[in-house]
Amino acid sequence: MKNKQKKYVIVGNSTAGVAAIEAIRSIDRAGVITVVSDEPYLNYSRPLISYFLAGKVSKDKLSFRGKDFYESNEIRLILDTKAVRIDTEKKELVCSGNKKVPFDKLLLAAGGVPIIPPLNGRDLAGVFTFTKLSDAEAIEKYVRSHSVKKAVVIGGGLIGLKATEALVALHMSVTIVELADRVLSAAFDKTASSIIEHALEKVNCRVSVNNTVEEIEGRAGEVKGVIFKNKEKVPADLVIIAIGVRPSISLAQGTRIKINKGFLVDDHMRTSVRDIYAAGDCCEAWDALLGINRTLAIWPLAVKQGLAAGYAMVGSDKKYAGGFAMNSVELCGIPTVSVGVTNPEGTGYEVLESYDKEKPLYRKIILQNNRIMGAIFVGDIDRAGIYTGLIRDTVDTASFKEHLLKDDFGLIRFPKEYRKYLIDKETVAI
């Protein structure tokens, strides 16, 4: 009745991998799915580690699929095991301890690894990265056993600021060092960044921009401070390095799998080697807005890519339609959303802005030929998804452009036909 059971192997146990499992199982209930993860946990939501560290979410609430997920989907779990190498000829995944896992279809979804600059003192106790639950747990443990009052966070990006927020919640005074001229320089513009910088200062944080750390100082193996590029010495009981992540690709080095920064994939999330797929933060998939392949390390796209990869692995024709950058993050109690192109370079862009410094409320919409290319919302993010939808559908906003910034902007301003299409059609994809 059945062909021989297919062997699916997934490297990585986060959202892309989990989405792939669900896609595979929606079609193939019989195949054997093996998940290999270098982490000791069942699935958990990485973006939530800052909530966990701040004590807002307990460890058991970090999971985004219930405990019975693996059982009900009949998953073979190989945890705490690093996938080291791929033998593309034998179709084997070689793991730490020389454990070999044969596959018919392999999905690479191990996410990203933090970038650690070659700083003196980076190995001192009290110096951490902040991408995994183990990082958060280690920090928590260190904080409990040490008197930690001052912290330095290297990197004013999203991870750095979420880490800062958690440290503030743990009653630390934090200095953020950012190489660029402002925090969140990738997703935000100057105004939006300044709102957040201002809010950070209010909660006793210092933001040092155009600056970097040259050395981490320690005493008795424990961190005691940092020295900035300008030779300023800042005492620190704890340092978090959060200057960025890069795709986790090391296991495929030396194979024929094409890698740029991450794995290059097509619209079925196929790598250049047959039967090997990649999804999530480790791959370079289609950016629908910029029209190029690039890494877009964000949760919703990892899900979409994981689903597309899963479907492709069972032979279904559902494609990955591409995505674009977007992020929703609340910092110092200020909700923010940034979508698409937020710092346009070159000509041909039109920018709509409204800014109320007192509240603070900031809205910025970037258009090109009357089509929205990007948007930033700070303070009030209600209904921000409508703009995301307009970007996705490349809607010509000429007929309602003057309403885009208004508080009551909504579907009612759309041309009736587009509104009807949006409301009545069955499926929606972003």
Partner: protein, 159 residues
Amino acid sequence: MKEKENKNIEKKKGPGRILIREEYCMGCRLCEVNCLVQHSKTKNIIKAYKTEFPRPKPGVIVEENGYVSFALQCRHCDDAPCLEACLTSAMHRDKDTQAVICDADKCVGCWMCIMVCPYGAIARNTEGKKVASKCDLCKGENVPVCVKNCPNEAIIYEK
């Protein structure tokens, strides 16, 4: 294994749909009122408005422009972007009704769902614990209360 296959073959029944007929919406906003009451603790309209805190947020939004208006709820999309964007799976599809609903207990208020919902149908409720608030198709009711109480049948429910 066989049993599971059969389960899979049983096609999932989609959620009911609330059809929007803007040509008949009067803009009275009773849908919002009834939604709020239905999701309040007491389900008593006067108490819900006058004594309860935190008050639920209506899961229906009335948009108005001149004489055109309509009531908009979550469309419970087949391919719901909020489900994919949710960091905690607080946003989930109800097993019985197939409606997309938010588990307030799991929701951490990251607002990813708000960022991706093209209808702007998810609201932030920050009165108590921060949670994403949206239409749940009034689980347990035969017909969602916004539909049941719309005086002009400007929203109708199709099961």
